[in-house]
Symmetry: C2
Subunit: 467 residues, 2 copies
């Protein structure tokens, strides 16, 4: 089998560009926010929409798989070559919460194109990157004249990724037979920059908890009682202050147990990337690059575990003042984990540590939500070379390697299915994941389509999946 | 002049009890929340209501005094004895914010009587305690057969006490001529317990500030950027954690400068009160009595300065989780001050201290709102004996001395008018000032009326105001 002529793929994509974008806009209008119970019906609607779209694309099997939470979507398109490898594409159809008043320039659920960028919640994370596989497989077929893909193609698009994938592992375990694959392609990551295409080789894991502190049974007058009873907002703040030591290392005993340290080669690969801290800070919308002592910024975000406050609240936050000792305070913490760390161990370490920090008279409760394991792709895996080549053809330049600081349930797929996990993502750091004005660069979105169109042929040609 | 026969005062009060309560309920229905701009019209309405009520009571002068913020109410009723001393009663007609969903059993602005207690925002703090002077002066006149009070009576009822009295001092300075008095009676405090009447001899002062922390220009993904840029919620929490040292003393350099320490006699007077820490904790709705090392609970709340967090906020506080580094965080801090402390000095000390605590990459802004000075009544002042005697007759038992942990602009009156400040308050700790289900005990409210009815005669009889 020879390479698909690039021009045939590109012509097909150009001809179907507007129809594809119409579909994506339709999907982005569905506010499938899995973390907010009042959007449960929207998450269902999003799953139904995607299943219908996959059927329309040509997948002979497209099903909505219920879970005890939000449903996933599964689809299958067997190859006409029975000997072909089986590939499972992973993505998610739920999105982060978003509201116009958070700082969006337009309604987050009314997609608009400005300067060749499509703005909407989910444009990059992850609906855009899921949907490029539909046009990708059609371009693959059109350019090769095939009736079915060169690989046995499966898609699993979950509905609870933004809520920590609480039912994903169980779903994969339950459906492991139908999900069986030789490799997993995760399309829920990014690349270095628009002009520096990269393949991601690992993601951090995630453990999240909410801690509620209760002081007085109700808000009390800070004049009448201040200085003589414990304040739950102070207790919450002190716990946050105790999270890190003076070297910005996480100060929770046992937190670093098992962490796989970077090799010299990995540190060199990171250091070779054209990293400009000033421009990275602009992307981060931040004013200082600070973090764990002894590590570079790239090491901190890709290969080091962290503890962050995602939310803190207690007492009066409105206009003016209210001289109270608040009754309650709240912390939302998240921990990014790296290879070698185990979410269950982290939960125990956090609980033990917190128990020792709570002052007399403060009651508290810690609730952990769904954890995500870290994962790392072997640098020498042959399928990784296929992804690299396909991307290189689409972008017409060499492809480098990165990691991703974010988290996804890829590690569960690797563990349960026993298949290596590879990453194909075209988002860039300025796309604003989880932030106001999330967008996807249209040029990159179609490079994603093109990469997908090349990938299945390359994999079938170069990789024998037989053990 | 001899004592008014107690039975005449009591009969008059009993006959006018229901009309008085109807008036109070009408006033409490006006949500005069000075801290919330959308209630500005209600604060105006409250002032108009009170001025009309004072005119109806018989005050020949009753005026609404505008300020750049909310208006005060002023009234005057000269004695028919030109040689009588002049007394200025201070209170406030604005109230703390309140909403049903904060934990109220009934609408905070729809007064209801349950078990001989009147529940409403402002019932005790301070509308009930202002209004008892109207029935008090009528009972004084009825029982003595006078056409005018035994003292030259003035009232100044401000409208911004719950917002830190930002324009009060200027108002007093501007109107010092009309406000001139030989003594100030503040009715905005409480007593020890329903069965232990007390006179307060001092109040703490107050300095308040709001600190806004800005990290990234918008919320950013905690996976993509976490561990490598500063988090403003962490910065806010660390500032709170740095407020106190390990002895629960305020750790801001210079904070204790000038503090007047308690004398042995004052510590003894405190220690003689029937203080039961368990029952006090129930009133405080709290689960531990903790505070500055080396001091008792009463010393901590009455005579020691404090730093408290009234509000903290940043990032995602809704249901579920949102893995962000928040763009902003907010702190509302208040400092209770004791005799010898100066709010301007405290503001400078806080600003200097905070400036040294802010990490790189975090921008911040501190705004101080109106400060209140601490004040202390000389224990040997003759007018204090009149208040003590009047209260003793109303309650038919000896009266002890306390202080108040809360704050009021009494110190400004003392300083600007050059008159001693005395306290006549009948509220008790369980009245729930600034809390849900604020109430006033009706029996105590009418003891307040009765005390006011005795006070003017006693003062005229026993105190020569001439220097």
């Amino acid at each position: 089998m020879s390479h698909t002529p690039d021009s045939a793929v590109r012509t097909y994509i150009a001809e179907h560009r507007e129809t594809f974008l119409d579909g994506l806009r339709e999907w982005l209008r569905i506010p499938s926010v899995s973390a907010q119970p009042d959007h449960a019906a929207d998450v269902l609607r999003s799953a139904d929409w995607l299943a219908a779209k996959l059927t329309e694309t040509g997948f002979p099997v497209a099903e909505v798989w219920p879970t005890p939470g939000a449903p996933a979507v599964y689809a299958e398109w067997p190859s006409d070559d029975p000997e072909a490898p089986t590939v499972l594409v992973y993505g998610h159809h739920d999105v982060q919460p978003a509201a116009r008043e958070d700082g969006w320039d337009s309604d987050p659920f009314e997609p608009v194109v400005r300067e060749n960028r499509l703005y909407a919640r989910g444009a990059a994370d992850d609906k855009g990157q899921v949907l490029f596989h539909t046009l990708g497989v059609r371009a693959h077929l059109a350019a090769t004249g095939r009736m079915a893909p060169a690989v046995h193609l499966k898609l699993l698009i979950e509905g609870e990724e933004e809520s920590g994938s609480p039912h994903f592992r169980a779903l994969v375990q339950e459906r492991a037979g139908r999900l069986a694959a030789d490799a997993v392609i995760v399309s829920d990551t990014g690349m270095w920059a628009a002009d520096t295409p990269t393949v991601c080789t690992g993601m951090r894991g995630l453990a999240e908890c909410e801690i509620r502190f209760q002081g007085p049974d109700q808000d009390i007058h800070s004049g009448s009682f201040g200085g003589a009873v414990p304040n739950p907002a102070t207790a919450a703040a002190r716990l946050v202050a105790a999270l890190h030591d003076e070297h910005a290392r996480v100060a929770i005993p046992g937190f670093y147990d098992g962490v796989v340290e970077l090799t010299d080669r990995e540190r060199d690969l990171f250091a070779e990337l054209p990293f400009d801290e000033r421009s990275w800070l602009r992307t981060a919308r931040s004013y200082a690059a600070v973090g764990e002592a002894g590590h570079t910024t790239l090491e901190r975000i890709w290969a080091r575990p962290t503890a962050e406050v995602n939310g803190i609240g207690g007492g009066y936050q409105g206009p003016g003042s209210k001289t109270i000792i608040p009754s309650e305070a709240l912390l939302k913490l998240s921990f990014r984990l790296v290879a070698g760390q185990d979410p269950e161990h982290i939960e125990k370490a956090v609980r033990d540590w917190a128990a020792g920090q709570i002052p007399p008279g403060i009651r508290y409760e810690i609730v952990f939500s769904g954890a995500t394991r870290p994962c790392l792709t072997p640098l020498d895996h042959p399928a990784l070379q296929s992804v690299t080549r396909a991307m290189s053809r689409a972008f017409e330049q060499p492809v480098r390697y990165t990691r991703e600081g974010g988290s996804g349930p890829a590690a569960d797929l690797q563990e349960v299915l026993g298949a290596p996990v590879l990453f194909l993502g075209i988002s860039i750091p300025s796309d604003g994941w989880h932030a106001p004005n999330e967008k996807v660069e249209l040029d990159l979105l179609f490079k994603g389509v093109e990469t997908a169109a090349y990938l299945w042929g390359d994999l079938a040609e170069h990789w024998s999946h037989a053990p």
